[in-house]
């Protein structure tokens, strides 16, 4: 069931276009991410849904209700900000009680709800603390409790992890996802960090310059990127230039420096025979050790650089005049390679994605 719907939404600031003709449909209970570089319009989209920014054109519907003209306080939306926006003059208890006080709930009920919200985010005993007495992770928990306690229709998260250090970020990523799952709340998550989006989302919309480029599950976005921009923005990519030789349905044979390899065509880009194409292969999809002597495609290359990273070893392989990065698990059964070793490079036929 479509729960949140953007219909031809655009937002202009003066002459600049922040969001252009946006159409989005988000399902109930879904964890939906808006992913893109800064200035791509993802935050403006979120702020339009929250009611802080009025769209120039279009309509936003939540649960069948047109909310486009409603002020923020009439929308029943919870938002967690990048800086958490904990009220500095209030205790943790008063922060979490804020929305309940605005809803004029009786004191006893407020106390009850705040206590259970504190328990839910693991902050029992912190009631009397002030913002300055909390760590980044604790502020995050309070900000989330403050929002969840009012049981909003939608949860909005605006880059909530970017102010945390790396270790805390990893921890909070799973924590937020678990809370979201257990509450079952429709969640829209804004981030520029592809790994956050891939880890947490049910679906991702990749945005750039005010437009949505692709919407899909993390697997679709990562493995079948619709364009070179998406491929390069999400994860690491090897992009090999070649010429399309032949097209059979969704499979395309490509000539790369005289060797013929195959790649999958994404639906969105039908490469045309005889034209230049780019073949995308992820570093971890490439093997330098054949599983089977008859395996194809196969390119010949030379090891030019070795980067040891503990759990993986990365090799930069020169193939003709092009280079690919290859990531190999650091396992005892996979022989280590040396500089200037000649190697054969393999990948499964459907691991290569051909793009015009």
């Amino acid at each position: 069931m479509v729960y949140v719907e953007f219909s031809t939404i655009s937002k202009h600031f003066g002459t600049s276009v922040a969001v252009a003709d946006l159409d989005l449909q988000i399902e109930q209970g879904e964890f939906f991410s808006l992913l893109g570089p800064s200035g791509c319009g993802k935050s403006t989209t979120l702020r339009m849904l929250a009611g802080f920014v009025k769209p120039t054109t279009g309509q936003i519907r939540v649960n069948g209700r047109n909310v486009t003209a409603l002020p923020p306080e009439a929308r029943d939306i919870g938002i967690v900000f990048q800086n958490y926006a904990i009220f500095p003059h209030m205790t943790v208890f008063d922060n979490i009680a804020f929305g309940l006080v605005e809803r004029k709930l009786p004191r006893v009920e407020i106390k009850q709800k705040v206590d259970s919200a504190l328990a839910e985010v693991g902050m029992t005993g912190f009631e009397d603390r002030y913002e300055r007495e909390l760590s980044g992770g604790q502020k995050q928990r309070v900000a989330l409790a403050r929002v969840l306690v009012i049981e909003p229709e939608i949860l909005l998260l605006d880059e909530p992890l970017s102010a945390l250090d790396k270790k805390m970020r990893e921890e909070m990523k799973y924590w937020i996802k678990n809370i979201q799952k257990s509450v079952g709340i429709t969640t829209i998550y804004v981030t520029h960090d592809q790994s956050e989006a891939l880890t947490m989302s049910d679906r991702i919309a990749v945005m750039d310059q005010g437009r949505v480029l692709q919407i899909g599950t993390p697997v679709e976005i990562y493995e079948q990127p619709a364009s070179r921009f998406i491929a390069e923005f999400i994860g690491e990519s090897n992009l090999l230039d070649g010429t399309a030789l032949d097209v059979h349905g969704a499979v395309c044979s490509i000539d790369i420096d005289g060797t013929t390899v195959t790649g999958r065509l994404t639906q969105n880009n039908a490469a045309i025979k005889g034209q230049a194409v780019t073949l995308l292969v992820r570093p971890e999809m490439i093997r330098l050790h054949s599983l089977d002597a008859s395996e194809k495609p196969k390119l010949n290359g030379t090891v030019r650089e070795i980067i040891y990273q503990g759990s993986v070893v990365r090799y930069r392989i020169q193939i003709g005049h092009q280079h690919v990065m290859v990531e190999v698990a650091n396992r005892p059964d996979l022989a280590r390679l040396d500089l200037d070793d000649d190697v054969e490079v393999y990948w499964n036929a459907d691991s290569g994605v051909a793009m015009p």
Binding site: P71, I77, I79, F87, H89, G99, E102, E131, R132
Partner: protein, 296 residues
Amino acid sequence: MTKATAVRASGLSQHQFKWLLVVPLVAFFVLFFVIPVGLLFATSFNPAKVGQVALVSDLTFDNYIRFFSRSNYLIAAGRSILLASIVSVITLIVAYPMAFVIAKTENPARNTFLLILVLASMQLDMVIRLYGMMVILGDNGLINQILQSMGLTDGPVALMYNFRGVVFGLVQFALPFMILTLVGVIMGIPPSLEEAARSLGASRRRAFMRVTLPASMPGILSGSLLVFALSISSYIVPALMGGFRVGVLPIHIYQQVAESARFQFGATIAVILFLISATAVAVYLKLGKRSSGGLA
């Protein structure tokens, strides 16, 4: 040569170098504030003797006893505190909306223009500004002419040479200080605080009352403190706008020193004025700690 190598070449550690930078300020402060004011305060413990300026070794509390046993001095102290308090409150009420508008004006050109407008009034000396105000506030001034022509009053309303006039003058004097203090603090409040309050169900007005206003409390307190200190110590405004008829402590100090030539008693009043200001600072600091959750 980089800063680090310059410091090393002079044989000073980074730490020593940093302290060297405050030497000019400390020297100036000691020479032109601590020593003269300290000497003045010391003379307050000398017996009052007309024409005697230099410090003598004869110590006494007579001046203080005189101050606290004469009702006119105690009334003057009370009047000073009342005046400074009223001016602080009025200035705050007038300044806050303006400061809010300036802080929320995002367009840099418009923001700068508004700040220049506020600072413009500080470009003229206070005496000149006060003479300007007299044209408006006098018995035949603009305001009285308008009031009378509208038939609101029969005779002129006394707007100056009284307590009211001093309040007008001091508010005018103190406004830019208050506005600048508040603008800084309001601009430092992240807009996300108000947005968070709004999306939690607070109307624009409620969000202001429950979040933005309390979050600007440190500015309100420090601005009020600044205005209080400026007002209670002002001599020129009570002198010109009050026509020496509003007897606040600085007027008494001037009269003792310049008219009666009793430096010692003038110094005593100055010490008491200083203690009142210092007490106000202490009270505000305590208030600040409580109201802002230990923010200040």
